[in-house]
């Protein structure tokens, strides 16, 4: 029942998102025909083009036509110019964005979890205070500022890493990692700071529970208590935030992708906006929004798997 209700809601939101995406791009100023057909085309050619692409139909019909194609897996293409298919863009660029997100999340979690454990174990000591202050500072650095500063330190000053030269995973594994580590760090530092704050707060609460006292009195070593007893019940909200962030970052990594010239989805979408390639914008925004909705849906489900009370709420 719970699952069904959430599923219906998911589908309704997806429909609303697709309608809004379509109307936003369709209602924006600019005649798509003018930018697609060569400038010397006759009015008859324009009319024929309009007819072929259903542009002479009422708005709702145009939307239905577009959705019908999307459902069949045809996300559209940009006519004229490069004649690029949206599905091809996805195939080439989604893996880059996903790799960026994956590396960023791994970096963030790899640092944040041990730091948060230490911080909560030493709550209210100078170590904890330093960690909290540090997390707060990192939280306040915008990602583009981090990107510039990191480049300056690691590429300009110490010449350790390349900048703005992306190497595909299929070409060279180490080259790929070297080219993704700076952009991923620019994202990971802010994420990690959020995770530290969140996990620390939840851990401190858990550590006050009776079963922790019990474990302590049994003489179980602190490391084991932190990792085996306290971490799991403290990680619910962390899990949710990871999900939300992953969904939000699919379209939110534009700045980092742009700065490091990564051939990712966000970068292409930004270029498409600048070039007013409306059909590409429509297709990509729809995919990103759908990704966000679906990731959040899965997080909801995961949450109710971990904590059954939600299903019966």
């Amino acid at each position: 029942m719970f699952l069904l209700r959430r599923l219906v809601r998911l589908i309704l939101v997806l429909i609303a998102v697709s309608f809004l995406t379509f109307s936003l791009t369709a209602l924006l100023p600019g005649d798509p025909v003018v930018s697609i057909l060569p400038p010397d085309s006759t009015p008859a050619q324009k009319a024929a083009f309009r007819h072929d692409h259903h542009l002479d139909r009422p708005f709702v019909n145009q939307y239905a036509f577009w959705v019908g194609r999307v459902v069949q897996g045809d996300l559209g293409r940009q006519y004229g110019g490069i004649n690029e298919k949206v599905s091809d863009i996805l195939k080439q660029r989604l893996p880059v964005t996903l790799e960026l997100l994956l590396v960023a999340q791994l970096l963030a979690l790899g640092v944040a979890i041990p730091v948060a454990l230490l911080s909560s174990y030493k709550a209210d000591t100078s170590v904890d205070k330093a960690i909290s202050a540090g997390a707060f500072g990192f939280l306040s650095i915008p990602d583009f500022a981090l990107a510039t500063v990191l480049t300056f330190i690691f590429a300009t000053e110490f010449k350790l890493l390349p900048v703005a030269t992306f190497v595909h995973l299929s070409d060279s594994i180490t080259g790929n990692l070297r080219s993704i580590i700076l952009p991923a760090s620019a994202i990971a530092i802010g994420l990690g700071a959020v995770y530290v704050r969140l996990l620390r707060a939840d851990m401190i609460q858990t550590l006050q529970e009776d079963f922790i006292l019990m474990a302590r009195s049994q003489g179980i070593p602190p490391r084991r208590i932190l990792l085996r007893h306290a971490l799991r019940p403290s990680s619910f909200s962390l899990l949710t935030i990871i999900g939300i962030n992953t969904g939000a970052l699919i379209g939110g990594s534009v700045i980092v992708e742009y700065y490091f010239a990564l051939p990712g989805l966000g970068n292409r979408l930004f270029a498409a906006l600048g070039q007013r390639e409306l059909l590409i914008v429509q297709g990509l925004v729809l995919i990103i929004a759908a990704g966000y909705v679906i990731v959040n849906f899965m997080v909801d489900m995961l949450y109710s798997v971990i904590d059954p009370r939600i299903r019966h709420a």
């Binding site: 100023p29 306040s140 909200s237 534009v254």
Partner: protein
């Protein structure tokens, strides 16, 4: 019963809001507990605010003037004669560009968040108080808006409506609506169940009166403390937009565009200060907003809301 679209957000906001019911007690001790971690960032923000407000009157040089006569000093270091913070790659005065750039950051930070808070707050208040169909419709709208990649939406608005301070402000306001609607709804849900609402209803108060006189004043405090987090996010968002060259058009200065303009001479190492100075100013400002907000929430006993 609560729907569970985004548990963490709602839950954290709810925890905040429940804690705020104790806020009346907290208010009495504000003065005692604020401390330096509040006052230093607060003073910095006041300084930036005064500079932004009076940038036109204060003796700053023209932020867009490229010197045409005399010795041309480009990328001058700070404390160069006549230029306290040096000059950029076109010889323009960095201090005055920062001062006029502060106007952009603060306008977006304050006005956009104000608009978002008014619209989102109203929606959340209606949803949380009337529940039922109103709530379903409002939360459906919020969920839909939230599904859009926020930065892309902001870029799209400025690309298609034109790059101007007004349009950037509108764009950032639009994407801040869902967060405010959620937090306000959560706060309203809690306060609508309190005894004073039942009492008011028992005395025959109309819904309208209960919302305006009983619920709204209570909801305002937690929502306002949440707003400071959004101000920081909005300043960063404008900076990112400017970094992409999509905020106020050049040559008008903005902190984000100053960082973008300086990134070339930062990467080749010839004049890293061009990008680093605006980066530091922006960092201190965002940190200050966060610190002031954090301090206020702690004193008012509001737990951190993650956004």
């Amino acid at each position: 019963m609560l729907e569970q679209p985004q548990i963490a957000e709602i839950e954290l906001a709810l925890a905040d809001v429940e804690a705020v019911s104790e806020a009346a007690v907290g208010q009495r001790v504000i003065r005692r507990r604020l401390g330096l971690a509040f006052w230093i960032p607060f003073l910095w923000l006041m300084l930036i605010l005064v500079i932004a407000l009076f940038a036109g009157i204060l003796p700053f040089q023209d932020p867009t003037r490229i010197p045409t006569s005399g010795p041309l000093r480009i990328n001058a270091m700070p404390f160069a004669p006549g230029h306290l913070l040096g000059t950029d790659d076109l010889g323009r005065d960095v201090l005055s560009r920062l001062a006029f750039g502060a106007r952009v950051s603060l306008t977006v930070g304050i006005v956009a968040v104000g608009i978002g808070m008014a619209i989102g707050g109203l929606l959340g208040l209606l949803a949380g108080f009337y529940r039922g169909r109103v709530e379903t419709v409002v939360m459906f709208f919020v969920d839909t808006l939230l599904a859009f990649p926020a930065l892309i939406l902001v870029i799209a608005i400025t690309v298609f409506l034109g790059q101007s301070l007004r349009n950037v402000t509108i764009a950032v306001a639009v994407v801040s609506i869902p967060a405010f609607a959620r937090v306000t709804r959560a706060a309203t849900l809690t306060f609508s169940q309190r005894e004073f609402v039942t009492a008011a209803r028992g005395m025959g108060a109309t819904n309208r009166r209960i919302v305006l006189r009983e619920v709204l004043p209570n909801v305002l405090l937690p929502v306002a403390s949440f707003a400071l987090v959004v101000v920081a996010v909005a300043i960063v968002a404008e900076g990112g937009l400017a970094f992409l060259g999509q905020s106020v058009p050049s040559p008008k200065p903005s902190w984000g565009s100053m960082i973008a303009e300086g990134k070339g001479v930062l990467q080749d190492g010839t004049a890293p200060q061009d990008a680093l100075i605006p980066t530091i100013v922006m960092f201190i400002t965002v940190l200050s907003v966060n610190l002031v907000g954090d301090r206020l929430r702690k004193v008012l006993n509001v737990r951190e809301a993650a956004i």
